[in-house]
Every structure is written in C-alpha cells, then in structure tokens.
C-alpha cells in the first residue's frame, strides 16, 4: 500500500516522500490510515493547484474557468425541449472526455513537467490528446444534432 505515496504531487513527493514512506513502514496498516492518506493526497493536490501557475494563470482559476464554461454549455442546452437522447449522450460523452483530458493533462504536467506535458511522446499525453479528440468529435456531433 506504500504506492499511495505515488498519488501525491511530484514536488510534494520529492520533499516529503521519503519521510512519509519511512513513517508508514513503522505503522501497521489500518482502514483509518488508508482514508487518512487519501485525504492527505487530496489536500496536497489542493495546495499544489492553488500555488501552481500555467502561463501566468493560477491553476485553480484555470480549472474554475473550464468548469464554468462546461456548466454554461450544459445550462444553455438543458432548457431546450427538443433535446433528444442522442444529443444528451453526445453531450455527456463530450463533457466526460473533456474532464478526463484535462485531468490527465494536469496529472501529467505535475508528474513530468511542462515540456513533456505538451509533447506526445508519453502514454499519458497520448491519452489526454485522445480524450481531447473525442471531446471535439462529441461536441461537434452534439452541435450538429441540436441544430
């Protein structure tokens, strides 16, 4: 279960990883410990996202903006009475793939750094690009269906 440490942001792991690993080795593994570690991982990412900047924009603000754009798109089409099942499916696929693409990109960015995150040489970047492509196709399908 020590692999939980690898879920922490890279910079955090570099600074506290060895200490935490050492501490976990001295403790018996319990359910409480698992839950507590998961909370710690979320907390560490929260700190990381609040502090990190990409192109001068704070990461938390960028994520908030992306979220708001998605909510606006959903709200705009939610009230339409003519929305059929296929449109809804296309929209759901688009939203899920966009969320996955952004999440994978962020994880990749923290894990490998800026340069590698924008390359397509790694598995994660290919996955992120793939989901972004799926998002593009789904959103086009959605817009075509709604019109």
């Amino acid at each position: 279960m020590k692999w939980f440490i690898y879920l922490y942001p890279r910079s955090w792991r570099k600074r506290y990883g060895d200490e935490l690993f050492d501490l976990l080795e001295q403790k018996d593994w319990t359910f409480f410990m698992t839950i507590d570690l998961l909370r710690g991982i979320v907390d560490a990412w929260k700190i990381e996202i609040n502090e990190r900047e990409v192109f001068g924009i704070r990461m938390s603000n960028a994520l908030l903006l992306v979220g708001l754009i998605n909510i606006l798109i959903i709200l705009q089409y939610r009230s339409s009475q003519e929305v059929i099942l296929m449109e809804q499916i296309a929209l759901i696929i688009a939203m899920v793939s966009f969320f996955l693409a952004v999440s994978i990109f962020i994880v990749h960015l923290f894990k490998e750094g800026l340069q590698k995150a924008f390359s397509i040489s790694t598995k994660l970047s290919k996955m992120s690009l793939g989901f972004m492509g799926l998002y593009g196709l789904s959103i086009i399908a959605f817009l075509v269906l709604t019109n």
Partner: protein, 100 residues
C-alpha cells in the same frame, strides 16, 4: 496582514516542537501520548506542509530519511499568541460556568 488560522493538528505539532526538535514519527507519538489522538500520516504531513510554507517550522538537514523539524522564531511567536487566545476563551468559559 491576515492572521493565519491553523487546524488543531497544526497546533499539536507546534506544541510538540516547542519542547524539542522532532521528526514526523516522534511528533505523531507525542500527540498520541499526550492527547490520546491518533493522527494519521496524511493529516500529519498535510499540517507539516502548511506550517513549513508559513515559516513556522523548518526542517533540519539530516543524512537519515527521518528529517527532524524545529520551531522557528515566527512559529514560537504564533504559538504563544494562539495559546493566549485559547487561554482567554477558556477563562471566559470557566467564569461563565462558575468554575472559577
């Protein structure tokens, strides 16, 4: 300047370090012994991260994987102020309950 507010575990960590320099595991043991609170590793290192970023504790160089932490002057001042605040609250509470 905005006054930082830290959680209970952060205060326990500062109190542990007020006496002597300790590494993570020793802090955890001290808290468990004195307050009967089992602090998880995730919570402990979350609090340590915040306290270190705030400049209230500092890590001491060590060849060992266990790195000891030390309370800084700013940390000592912060802890003193926090304890005075807590003391004022408990005194008021005790007075109103007729305990003193």
């Amino acid at each position: 300047m905005k006054k930082d507010r830290f959680s209970e575990p952060s205060l326990f960590i500062l109190i542990s370090l007020a006496e002597k320099d300790c590494h993570g595991y020793a802090i955890m043991e001290d808290i468990e012994k004195n307050y009967s609170i089992k602090l998880g590793a995730g919570t402990l290192y979350g609090a340590i991260t915040r306290l270190e970023k705030a400049g209230y504790i500092q890590v001491l160089e060590s060849d060992d994987r266990k790195k000891p932490y030390r309370l800084t002057d700013a940390g000592r001042e912060y802890l003193s102020n926090q304890i005075k605040d807590i003391q004022a609250i408990t005194t008021l509470g005790a007075k109103r309950l007729g305990l003193i």
